[in-house]
């Protein structure tokens, strides 16, 4: 005889485990007064360059740590360490994103105690990292000019989960066919609250405005 099929209510988020872990992490970091920033972008968009520029302008104000998940193995964390901050490399084992569990491991490998700001360099990818809460206070995404102004159409989720958008490599604007106004309209259409910064990590243009934003954020959080 056939067994009867019964319907069982589940009513759970697919990522409920990760979300719970991320919320717990956020609480722990808040108690410790440590601001966690998650930086996401395609490979080569300028995550490492931006983080290094940011550290140089903020290292006198805050004690800073970096969690590296870029798949280029140890290269990036060495680069970061030479700028005088603590860096931890996470082995993502080919994973396409960081999740809260991996970030927790990274934090456990650091001495959290005195840190005001921890920056995560997420895996180079515009899709998967957008789906996974890392426990960060804010998400920042970088779009570089050579990638094109149509990216909000292709990767809408990334633009909606970020609070700041950094348009990097504006030194290429003269040579690339890139419509900054169109990009801004598209990005703001998806996410009206987005703060947008135009920078060049090569020339340093615009970095100060971005760093001011982050400085304000961290100050408000740690005091």
């Amino acid at each position: 005889m056939m067994d009867d099929i019964k319907l069982i209510e589940v009513k759970e988020e697919i990522f409920s485990d990760n979300k719970q872990l991320a919320d717990g992490l956020r609480q722990r970091l808040a108690r410790n007064k440590t601001y966690l920033l998650n930086v996401m972008a395609s490979p080569g968009a300028g995550k490492t360059s931006l983080i290094l520029r940011t550290i140089d302008l903020l290292k006198d104000d805050f004690s800073i740590g970096v969690i590296e998940a870029d798949i280029d193995s140890m290269v990036d964390s060495k680069k970061v360490a030479t700028h005088g901050v603590k860096a931890v490399q996470i082995r993502t084992g080919g994973f396409c994103h960081l999740d809260a569990a991996m970030v927790t491991k990274g934090l456990d490998a650091m001495d959290l105690g005195g840190l005001d700001l921890i920056i995560i360099e997420n895996v180079g990818n515009l899709v998967c990292p957008a789906e996974f809460d890392t426990g960060a206070v804010k998400n920042t995404m970088i779009l570089s000019v050579p990638e094109g102004d149509d990216k909000p159409l292709k990767y809408p989720l990334m633009f909606t989960v970020s609070q700041a958008l950094i348009v990097n490599k504006v030194d290429y604007l003269k040579t690339e066919d890139f419509d900054m106004e169109a990009l801004k309209n598209r990005a703001l259409g998806l996410n009206p609250g987005l703060d947008i910064f135009e920078v060049s990590c090569k020339t340093g243009q615009g970095i100060d405005k971005w760093v001011d934003w982050l400085r304000k954020e961290v100050k408000a959080f740690v005091t």
């Binding site: 697919i14 990522f15 485990d17 994973f95 899709v127 998806l190």
Partner: protein, 116 residues
Amino acid sequence: MHELPVTESILNVVLKHARANGVKKVVAIHLEIGELSDLENEWIQRYFDYLSKNTLAEGAKLKIKRTPVVMECRSCETRFKVNIKDMFEIKCPKCGSSDCTMVSGKEYYIKSMEAV
């Protein structure tokens, strides 16, 4: 791209509920996934078939409902559906404001499952 971790999470949640309900076998799983996610239904099923081997959920069919992107106007509170292709020029159909927030389209939800 990230179908594998998504599928793992689905399986974990489903197995937890399967054990809690003492079922013999899960035959179907009802999911609601927002249109903003670019997950491929076919790949989720393939990964699921692979990961669920020798579990209570082996052979279960994933029934995926894609929930549309819905925005709400901040000035007049009108709610309206948006085609993903038009997401970069969002305008409230009633008052024309483009200051809108997303109320659905990003979900990743396991609604229910059928089991014996």
